[in-house]
Subunit: 151 residues, 4 copies
């Protein structure tokens, strides 16, 4: 993630939102804790997916988080807010990979990739076409739509 | 991580410890939450590193977490305890990569790789020799000691 | 709570259990955080109530937490474990009040009172007799069984 | 707290602020968790005290949280934001008691009282006059300024 300079520019993401930090997000070192940063990426994924799936599909698809990876680039601080950015990194057959970033005061603090696997009754199932159509416009600028979702 | 079957066998790790789960580790789905699982890996790293560094080095080295990746393999549940396993995946020049796993009732729930970077006054600094000597016996059984810490 | 010396003696409680502390329970001050201490009392309540209700009642009663009060008496530390103690402070008509305490290295760190209200279809409902019989032997030594549950 | 109707009217508090809820604030019941609600009151206290103490005193006074009590009045939900309200309930010799409330969609969800004790080198110390002058205008409308800080 960190080797790709496009990932550090909020303008390359499909969606951004400001979020508040909390005193409890700090650990004994006085910075935003690594796991708390992972929590911000969870919140970003959930808020984004709710708006993505809402009203779009006859039945809400079921996804499992298969993989999460975070690069920590700089210290984050309380009480300044953070800006969270979300895009898609790649769309596969039964899964897709999101590309997220966290900024504070204009600086990129962390990057996150998450693989969500679509679950059917018997395991991974193909992404519904209606969802795929919604996902494609959300790809990170310059990312390859044909890359595998499992990275 | 998940492609390597050695990672799912607790016998391949240098250190294991049982940890309690908490009601608060569950989310609305009634399973151990993904970020809560990441929290268990943080706790594992901290407890292991404290015992690793304790009394070993004239001065306690300073490390930053540069990267964390987690593969989620199965649902975890409350209130059963979990068994956390820790080994080294690889040792580089200025960093090392740990290989961790989480088990519940004998089943592997999640795998985690973490890259810790040794910090000097001006950025990444070579691992102290005394630490390197302590790290090498802790490699995951079958792992390559010469692989790069940055993966 | 703190004015009652009986509350600081683990021997006066009906049930005690040791629990692990976590790195994440500390805040920037390097102590166990106040809210994290409240989390330990939640965990104590849930574990105790599960064993209390299990197999005892034809139908599991539904309770709401109406009130929680905590006295903070001393700093708690990581990574030493804590000992949690649970008893009943009083049993009312539709609610009961628990008396809890948290100890570390033999020292009382915090006390907690919680009021649980029994919920029926239309609001507070009388405690089932079978539950009342189970609760009475659990009163804190010396506590008054006839005191109101709402304190 | 809950017996006092003034406490459920945001207009009686000296300070209010909107705060975001997070997915992680919910527990398995799908509501805002009781301890998460306590966490919102912690955040309120810290944000308010920082603005209260900032630039006001030659030396920042040291306070310990001695007591926290919460009345839970209604369920809270995600993802709607909450409105937090803060005032003083009473000002004592060495401590003061805050009166806080949490609202969501115009409904009072919870009330919280917190006692903060001023610490000197040898234990509780009188509140500095400069702080006392700042506190008095912040009393909950209709509250008695002469009441004891311990309630």
């Amino acid at each position: 993630m960190k080797a790709d300079p496009r990932r550090r520019d909020p303008g390359n993401y499909a969606w951004t939102a400001e979020m508040e930090t909390r005193f409890a997000d700090m650990d004994v070192n006085g910075h935003l804790n690594n796991v708390a940063i992972t929590r911000f990426f969870e919140e970003t994924r959930i808020r984004f997916n709710w708006s993505l799936f809402a009203g779009a599909l006859a039945e809400r698809p079921r996804f499992l988080v298969g993989h999460v990876a975070v690069d920590f680039l700089a210290e984050g601080h309380y009480p300044a807010p953070v800006t969270m950015a979300y895009a898609l990194a790649s769309i596969g057959t039964t899964s897709f990979r999101s590309a997220k970033a966290m900024f504070q005061k204009g600086r990129c603090i962390a990057l996150c990739d998450t693989v969500l696997v679509h679950r059917g009754a018997d395991g991974p199932a193909p992404l519904p076409d209606a969802l795929r159509e919604r996902l494609e416009p959300l790809l990170l600028k310059g990312a390859a739509a044909t890359a595998g979702g499992r990275g």
